[in-house]
């Protein structure tokens, strides 16, 4: 049975994948689906849900539904980019470590252990609070929206690659000893070609599973950082920083905090369920 056929027999994973696809479509279409998320209506602050504002308005009179859509666009894009960057880094290091072996392997694995042993959130807070001007970057670059978003992607990816690296290394060690790899080496294929053509295809499915599972984790980290004021910066909406506003109004309108958190919960839940289903479909023995 192929992976796809097994997935089709797993209703929970299917629902999760469909939900993720729907979220992705909604995020892509956000500019057409919803009006400007930054337009203020100070006459209608913290308004109850109505026809004009299906989920009400926030503390500055902005439409919650359209901020949710646009915020999801940012949160999902950040999570996807981070997962991709972390996945690529982890795959490259895992391949090098597993195939290279010896001292290279020892150094890379100690590095991985070291990064895994660090207290994640305090470290991320330090990285997010750094002054990028002291790194010698151009000042006009620093104030662009793309830089602010790219920065959080790099920061989270910097500590998020370890799981994939370990998985890929273990898988590489197993595949390395197989006959087709030895045959390729015997006819004179170089190490780069062997790693990319003969080993990489065999590590693809664990990487896919680990990356899907990591997207959920990354959304949680990004939202926590944005909530603390260190991630995506207002007025650009993200699900995390929408909640920063909500903590101030918790006494007057506790319902304002409901929607962004629910969106995060559903998305992360869908990622975890989809990843879990993929894992079972790729490796039915487990």
């Amino acid at each position: 049975m192929t992976v796809l056929a097994r997935l089709r027999g797993d209703p929970v994973a299917l629902v999760a994948i469909i939900l993720l696809l729907a979220l992705a479509v909604a995020a892509i279409l956000a500019p057409w689906l919803a009006p400007d998320p930054e337009s203020l209506d100070l006459a209608a602050m913290l308004a109850a849900p109505s026809l004009a504002h299906p989920l009400g308005t926030d503390e500055l009179g902005r439409d919650v539904a359209s901020r949710l859509l646009h915020g999801g666009r940012v949160s999902l894009a950040v999570a996807a980019a981070t997962a991709l960057l972390a996945g690529l880094t982890g795959t490259a290091l895992g391949l090098l470590s597993g195939y290279g072996g010896g001292r290279l392997d020892a150094v890379l694995m100690r590095l991985t252990d070291g990064v895994m042993a660090l207290p994640l959130l305090p470290l991320l807070i330090v990285l997010a609070a750094l002054d990028p001007a002291k790194l010698g970057l151009a000042p006009d670059l620093l104030h662009s929206e793309a830089f602010a978003v790219g920065r959080i992607v790099v920061i989270v990816a910097l500590v998020g690659w370890t799981q994939v690296a370990r998985l890929v290394r273990a898988q590489t060690l197993a595949v390395k000893a197989r006959d087709h790899v030895r045959a390729a080496r015997a006819i004179g294929a170089g190490p780069v070609r062997i790693m990319l053509r003969h080993i990489l295809p065999h590590v693809a499915s664990p990487v896919l599973v680990a990356t899907t599972l990591s997207v959920g984790h990354i959304i949680l980290i990004e939202s926590a950082l944005s909530f603390l004021g260190l991630g995506v910066q207002p007025p650009l909406a993200s699900w995390g920083n929408m909640l920063t506003g909500a903590i101030g109004t918790i006494w007057t309108s506790p319902a304002a905090a409901l929607w962004p958190g629910l969106a995060i919960l559903l998305t992360v839940l869908a990622c975890n369920l989809a990843g879990d289903g993929l894992q079972r479909a790729c490796d039915p023995r487990r």
Binding site: A117, L127, G261
Partner: protein, 318 residues
């Protein structure tokens, strides 16, 4: 024994490397100590700034400053906290006690929820209870901690008015008494406990199922042990070994969770202290706090190894 010494050495190496990295990162923070002094006192001139930099050794190369700082830390001299206007140790101590209290209670709650449910779910894999436990586990690992905290505040503090939303004073300061302290603990502990129980639940269930296939379980059953006795007297003992290891390994993760809960509930703990120190340019406090957090995480992983060796005689002989 040699294994433990090796792990200790390795952890010290990581700690040393981390101190180097943190020190370097602190240098990249916005502002520097002398700028802050000048901002605080308009009478200081540019010449004074240069003189002060020389006085504190800030004109020296970066590596030399790092080594000096390291030597001072090794002698237990953590410096003075600018933000809290007291020695770093006096600021860290109570915060560490508060975080330990919060983490211990949260861990106790998470395990109280997770372990019995995990054992019960493993009895009939694929049954109704198993599905319910699985759903709970997935929701628990997927929920954003800070939002769960906000929701609990919305329900129990705002709507029902039963519990305070935050504002816990330090353990050292007096006032309120034990009842008041418990009322302040309730919501943050519930938040961390609920968000933390999912992974233990999954581990417990998986460990119980892994043990169920072993020969000794069949032997016990053949001897005439009842199902509950086999489950609790035989399987559980062995299944707890990997779970204990996971718990010890999770000390670092617990710390990150605690940071968020401390921020939401204004709990005066280590996480919030580090956050405030980083945000407020309190270099001494931030450096010491981060090092302490790293040391605690590393200690957790050594503890995990020790627990594993102590509980499982098969590992000890290695």
């Amino acid at each position: 024994m040699g294994l433990i010494l090796g792990r200790l050495g390795q952890s010290l190496a990581v700690l040393l490397a981390m101190s180097f990295v943190i020190y370097g990162l602190m240098g990249l923070m916005p502002g520097d100590p002398i700028d802050l002094m000048i901002a605080a006192d308009p009478h200081l001139s540019a010449a004074d700034a240069v003189r002060l930099k020389a006085l504190y050794g800030l004109d020296r190369p970066w590596t030399e400053r790092y080594l000096r700082w390291l030597a001072r830390i090794a002698q237990g001299e953590l410096g003075y906290s600018r933000l809290f206007a007291r020695p770093v140790l006096d600021a860290l101590g109570p915060a560490l006690a508060n975080t330990a209290l919060l983490m211990f209670c949260a861990l106790a709650l998470a395990l109280t929820l997770a372990l019995p449910l995990g054992v019960a779910a493993s009895r009939r894999p694929g049954g109704g209870l198993d599905h319910a436990a699985n759903l709970l586990a997935f929701v628990s690992v997927s929920v954003p901690t800070f939002w769960l905290g906000l929701m609990l505040v919305a329900v129990f503090a705002v709507w029902l008015g039963w519990l305070p939303a935050g504002g816990m004073h330090g353990l050292a300061e007096d006032g309120g008494g034990p009842v008041d302290r418990l009322r302040h603990l309730a919501l943050p502990v519930a938040t961390l406990g609920i968000a933390g129980c999912g992974q233990y639940l999954r581990q417990m269930r998986a460990a119980m199922l892994a043990e169920a296939g072993h020969d000794y379980v069949r032997t016990a059953r053949a001897k005439g042990c009842g199902p509950v006795r086999v489950l609790l007297g035989h399987q559980l003992r062995n299944a707890l070994i990997p779970v204990t290891t996971i718990v010890a390994l999770e000390i670092g993760g617990l710390f990150s969770g605690a940071l968020i809960a401390e921020t939401v509930f204004a709990w005066p703990g280590m996480g919030r202290l580090i956050y405030e120190a980083v945000m407020g340019n309190d270099f001494n406090l931030a450096l010491s706090g981060l090092l302490l957090a790293t040391a605690m995480t590393l200690a957790g992983s050594i503890l995990a190894d020790l627990a594993y060796a102590w509980l499982d005689p098969r590992v000890r002989s290695l």
